[in-house]
């Protein structure tokens, strides 16, 4: 970048104007240097620019006042003032958009230097000459005319063209700035619209997420309540099964107490050493009977207690509190533990025929699969009116394990078969079924484990449910 060098031809002969011009040239050079260095703070640049602009305005005001004081011809004045205004606008515009310009230092400095050169050499010189003419007593109009003629044709045309060029540039720049402005406004509008749409979307998404969570919660509750209902159905059988052994163990303990006190009496009699008393005590105690009955009393009681223990263990296995997560489980074992729990419900109704095949461990949630087994087994038992059979089968089929639970109960009509997986559909009497068992079973097998479930049924002959589970879990089979 070339420095803006003061030239003797710039001098107008008016001391104030020349001094101000020199100051302007210095200011332009200072700003240019600072811009070029690039490591000055924005604050300092702003300050320099404002000082320059302020000084230019101040200088223009002085010039304009001088012209009006000396009554320079109106035509020159208007033109001159117009150029001042254009310069200010141009400069401000250029400054504002300097961030977007390739080489802002060159552009700003170049513009300032070229404009000032043209202006000082052209209009200011013309102004000075006219003022000198006015001082010599020549009329303003005449001075203007003389001035126009005095400048040689080439220079006049050049200066004119340059002025027009600046005016054109200024217009163009303003138009561009306006377009820019409106573009910016539109971008801003679009951006705010997009932001609004985004916010709306986000809000909707939040609502959807919340709804989804509510649905999931409701489903979880349904699952739980169905489980509770099923357990309630089992309670009768389990209570019977637990109360029976507790009943006789408890009673046997009472009996044992009397046996022991009788035996102690006999021992006391022996210790007394009176043979008659011993004989009487032995007779009262019926020692022969006690000798016979005591071992069986204890054995039966032990058996009763181990039965209670087993029922509790079965219930624990069945509920699988510790198995609520995906794991590899032997489902033949799972169905056995379910059978144990449901057995009390089944044993008066049906004979269980096990046809379990060799199956690999399946990736599943055992507690949920048990719930399905229980539903199917209880349904099978309830389908049997008097006495029947329930077949429990299992096997492997390619990448799946299958289970079949077939009963010799009363079967279902076509219409009922179509609706069995609907939630709340039940053919059981009020209080006996929730109508959720099969719909939840379907959900567990199909949706949660990626398996399949179907049913064959003949009215009066029986029903067979079959389920397939992918061995490697829900995502292994597409």
């Amino acid at each position: 970048m070339d420095a803006f060098i003061w030239d003797a031809r710039f001098e107008t002969g008016i001391p104030l104007v020349d001094a101000q011009h020199k100051h302007l040239v210095d200011a332009v050079n200072t700003l240019g240097n600072e811009l070029l260095l690039g490591d000055v703070t924005e604050e300092r640049l702003q300050k320099l620019f404002h000082e320059l602009a302020e000084y230019a305005r101040h200088h223009f005001a002085d010039e304009e006042k001088m012209m009006s004081d000396k009554a320079v011809d109106r035509r020159h004045r208007d033109e001159h003032v117009g150029h001042h205004r254009q310069f200010v606008e141009q400069l401000v515009g250029l400054w504002k958009s300097r961030a977007a310009i390739d080489k802002p230092a060159e552009a700003v400095h170049g513009f300032l230097a070229s404009w000032l050169t043209v202006h000082i050499l052209g209009e200011d010189q013309a102004m000075a000459r006219q003022m000198a003419s006015l001082d010599r007593g020549i009329q303003a109009e005449a001075a203007y005319e003389v001035e126009k003629k005095s400048v040689d044709a080439g220079t006049a045309v050049l200066l004119d063209a340059l002025s027009r060029l600046y005016a054109l540039l200024s217009d163009q720049n303003q138009t561009l700035a306006r377009i820019n402005q409106s573009l910016e406004e539109r971008v801003e509008q679009r951006t705010s619209e997009l932001a609004k749409a985004n916010a709306q979307l986000e809000k909707e998404q939040n609502e959807l997420t919340q709804l989804l969570r509510k649905v999931e919660e409701a489903q979880q509750q349904l699952l739980q309540s169905e489980k509770m209902a099923a357990i309630g159905q089992l309670a009768a059988g389990v209570a019977h099964e637990i109360n029976n052994p507790i009943g006789f163990v408890n009673s046997n303990l009472g009996t044992l107490k009397s046996y022991v006190s009788q035996l102690l009496t006999v021992i006391a009699a022996y210790e007394g050493g009176n043979p008659q008393e011993v004989e009487a005590a032995r007779k009262a105690a019926d020692l022969e009977f006690l000798r016979d009955d005591l071992p069986s009393l204890v054995a039966e009681s032990q058996d009763g207690l181990s039965r209670v223990t087993k029922i509790v263990q079965d219930l624990k296995d069945f509920s699988h509190v510790d198995q609520a997560e995906h794991q590899h489980a032997d489902l033949n074992v799972a169905i056995e533990s379910t059978l144990n729990v449901v057995w009390n419900e089944l044993k008066y109704k049906a004979e269980i025929v096990r046809e379990l095949g060799d199956i690999p461990a399946v990736d599943c949630v055992p507690a949920q699969i048990n719930q399905v087994f229980m539903n199917l087994l209880v349904n099978a038992a309830q389908a049997i009116d008097q006495q029947g059979k329930i077949f429990v089968r299992s096997g492997v089929d390619n990448k799946e394990v299958w289970f079949e639970i077939e009963d010799t109960g009363h079967g279902m009509t076509e219409e009922v078969q179509h609706r069995i997986f609907e939630p709340f559909f039940t053919t059981k009497p009020v209080g006996k079924g929730t109508g959720l068992g099969l719909s939840i079973s379907y959900d567990i097998i199909v949706k949660k484990h990626g398996g399949r479930m179907d049913v064959r049924s003949t009215l009066g002959k029986g029903t067979c449910f079959r389920i397939w589970l992918p061995i490697e879990g829900p995502n292994s089979i597409s």
């Binding site: 009768a236 059988g237 109360n243 029976n244 507790i246 009943g247 006789f248 009673s251 009955d293 009393l297």
Partner: protein, 188 residues
């Protein structure tokens, strides 16, 4: 000696009950009952025994294979209407209880596990109540006979009817024959 029939599909229950009945006194008021217990692990076998022997009290489990306690007591009541009836059960829903009271007219419902003392006094009460009922009937019949409301023949017919229900009725077959064996009644 009071004859008691107990039915339960659980052998250990039967044995525990027998032990209690052998040891514990069975008394109500100043009456002391000595018990003779016949136990059966199937309702069908118990019914067969009821056809041939007389019992003072039937006590049955509720949940049993083949026939539940209510059906059994109903059948037993048809054979021996004067015997007292008890249910000893680990669990029964309301439906079963309603049936037991309304259809069978049980004297007591005893839950499992039971308390030996309560069980024995329930049996004693049921037996005492039965004694009282029979005595009342006898006295009432005596009075009716004295008043001329009932003939000794009618009284004897009632007695026979109690021993062998249906004996005083003649069952005519469709061809005019007389059906003696109740097994064939209603099946022809």
């Amino acid at each position: 000696m009071s004859r008691i029939l107990i039915v339960d599909d659980e052998e250990s229950i039967l044995k525990a009950l027998k032990r209690v009945m052998r040891l514990a006194p069975c008394s109500y008021g100043n009456k002391n009952y000595s018990l003779e217990v016949s136990e059966f692990n199937s309702p069908a076998a118990a019914l067969e025994a009821a056809q041939n022997e007389e019992f003072d009290l039937f006590m049955s489990d509720y949940r049993m294979p083949g026939m539940d306690g209510i059906e059994f007591l109903k059948a037993a009541k048809a054979i021996q209407p004067d015997a007292a009836r008890l249910i000893l059960s680990g669990y029964a829903d309301l439906n079963a209880l309603v049936r037991a009271v309304n259809e069978v007219g049980i004297d007591r419902f005893i839950g499992k596990p039971w308390n030996d003392y309560d069980l024995m006094s329930a049996i004693a009460q049921a037996l005492a109540h039965r004694d009282l009922m029979l005595e009342n009937r006898q006295l009432a019949n005596l009075v009716r006979q004295e008043m001329g409301d009932i003939t000794p023949e009618q009284l004897e017919a009632e007695r026979l009817e109690r021993i062998e229900p249906g004996i005083t009725e003649v069952n005519w077959g469709p061809d005019g024959s007389v059906v003696l064996d109740p097994e064939f009644q209603g099946k022809t």
